[in-house]
């Protein structure tokens, strides 16, 4: 095949998209790995954060960076509350109940957003430049999102690796039962993990709002792909999720380049289903 500069553009755009997807998957994966719960409503937390940024920026004129920081904090609090109010009462129940309870939360957050903001698509109305490079065009918002997502992921890595609490969070994912003998309050670890997961969703929200319109159902457009990425990488496997995010984003981007954006997603999902049969433990996962 001849070299195609537009294909290269699509691949690089896929890479940039992969950064944000990896960030989304990281939050969900962290929560799954540590608490053993799938938050079906994770993308709705992102949606809440997007509304938060939109609202602060467009209505109150709060500077964008500050609005994003407030959103990170706000969604972190929301994540904390999700665990405190919804998950912890049913922690010992069958996993499917927990999944469904967060599904109820999905409905709740979606309709609550409708109640507050209506069903209109809203845009923060910020025009960011487009960068031209050898005939290829990249939106600055995407590059910014990619960079910020990477910074977010590296900070989380450092936290998990260096601090006592971060180490405890990883330890809980390996053997939750014995944590009390080391003086670790697993309940506290779960709450902190949920808040971190929320904070990551808040960061993703601040980045996505630069590129996409906000509407109550916006979570549904990237929620499913986030789950698939997590499962593809091996649920709870942070590195696997990272790799899977870039694989899936290439499917979407290249598929979208040759066909349609929807076909890109269809191919990505079909790839996911097939991989579930071939490697149910995930591309980097361990068996069992």
């Amino acid at each position: 095949m001849v070299f195609d500069i537009y294909l290269l553009e699509a691949i690089i755009n896929g890479l940039l998209l992969g950064g944000v997807l990896a960030l989304l998957a990281l939050g969900l994966n962290l929560i799954f790995g540590v608490i053993d719960v799938v938050w079906i409503s994770y993308a709705e937390l992102v949606m809440a954060g997007m509304y938060g940024v939109y609202w602060l920026y467009a209505f109150f004129g709060v500077p964008l960076v500050l609005a994003a920081l407030i959103a990170i904090f706000g969604v972190a609090v929301l994540g904390f509350l999700v665990h405190y109010l919804v998950i912890s009462p049913i922690l010992g129940k069958p996993p499917i109940n927990q999944l469904l309870a967060t599904g109820g939360l999905l409905f709740f957050l979606q309709s609550f957003a409708t109640l507050l903001f209506g069903v209109e698509f809203r845009n923060i109305g910020l025009r960011l430049p487009v960068i031209e490079l050898w005939d290829m065009y990249f939106s600055f918002a995407r590059i910014l999102a990619f960079a910020a997502a990477l910074i977010g992921m590296v900070s989380l890595y450092v936290f998990l690796k260096r601090t006592f609490m971060g180490t405890a969070i990883r330890a809980v994912a390996q053997d939750r039962e014995i944590m009390a003998t080391m003086g670790v309050n697993t309940r506290q670890v779960y709450l902190i993990t949920s808040a971190i997961g929320g904070g990551l969703a808040g960061l993703a929200a601040g980045l996505l709002v630069l590129q996409y319109d906000v509407h109550p159902a916006v979570g549904l457009s990237f929620g499913p792909i986030t789950f698939m990425i997590c499962v593809l990488g091996g649920l709870g496997n942070l590195l696997g999720g990272f790799v899977a995010a870039f694989i899936m984003s290439q499917f979407i981007s290249i598929g979208g380049f040759y066909l349609d954006l929807e076909w890109g997603y269809v191919i990505a999902f079909v790839f996911f289903i097939v991989m579930m049969f071939l490697r149910p433990q995930g591309i980097l996962g361990r068996r069992g």
Binding site: F164, T167, A171, D175, A180, T181
Partner: protein, 234 residues
């Protein structure tokens, strides 16, 4: 130092301990012996808070442990070396040791105690960056004991440290326990390896079907005919 008065415990509807009374004085090494399923592991789990006390009293240095949440018990100076080691397999040796120093009082002295543990187990220093899951059985036991020491405990609860190890390694592990005694640690050890453990401890209790059957000095129990026949097989 550690005292149990008529302690009972249960898993759901199954009662695992009946009126167990036991005490360990400071500086002592005490063994709990008994067949499989007698409730030895349960006893240690009750002390370290992994299993709630159903009835009775449990005190550490005169302070009741019953009103403490499980994760606070280690702060009173009780460290538990769990059955089957239970290391975090996909974390390095040093990270496992770091988890041992999680409690507030231990964090500040993490580096200092790390040196102590590495001095005690030079093997651990060599393998500090290796995943704990890749260690040999004996090394894993060292790591598990090291992890317990990182909290700066007064008493060590040891659950079958010799289980699943080759005889030579078992010797080493018991040698280790002996050294810990020399360092001034109080030890409560659960073992199936009756003969060897009786050479190591001051006193022992015999636990059968969740109740204390008999107790006495190590010498008395070693001479006890029924015990010899049942467990030592001589």
């Amino acid at each position: 130092m550690l005292e149990l008065r008529s302690v009972s415990a249960r898993y759901g509807s199954f009662q695992a301990l009946f009126d167990v009374s036991l005490d360990v004085r400071a500086g002592e090494a005490v063994a709990v012996l008994g067949p499989n399923g007698a409730g030895k592991t349960t006893l240690l789990r009750v002390i370290s808070g992994l299993l709630p006390v159903a009835a009775g009293e449990l005190t550490m240095e005169g302070r009741s442990l019953l009103d403490l949440p499980p994760h606070r018990i280690i702060e009173t100076g009780i460290a538990h070396v769990l059955e089957n080691r239970r290391l975090f397999p996909r974390m390095s040796v040093e990270e496992n040791l770091k988890m041992g120093a999680f409690i507030r009082g231990a964090r500040a002295r993490f580096r200092e105690r790390l040196d102590v543990v590495y001095e005690l187990f030079p093997r651990m220093a060599e393998r500090r960056d290796q995943f704990a899951g890749t260690l040999s059985g004996g090394e894993q036991q060292m790591c598990a004991i090291g992890r317990a020491l990182m909290s700066g405990p007064k008493i060590l609860l040891m659950d079958e440290p010799s289980a699943g190890l080759a005889p030579v390694i078992v010797e080493q592990v018991f040698g280790l326990v002996d050294r810990l005694r020399g360092e001034g640690y109080t030890v409560l050890i659960v073992e199936q390896n009756v003969q060897q453990v009786l050479q190591l401890v001051d006193r022992a209790y015999l636990l059968e079907v969740g109740s204390i059957k008999t107790s006495g000095s190590a010498a008395e129990l070693a001479a006890d005919e029924t015990l010899r026949r049942a467990y030592i097989g001589i």
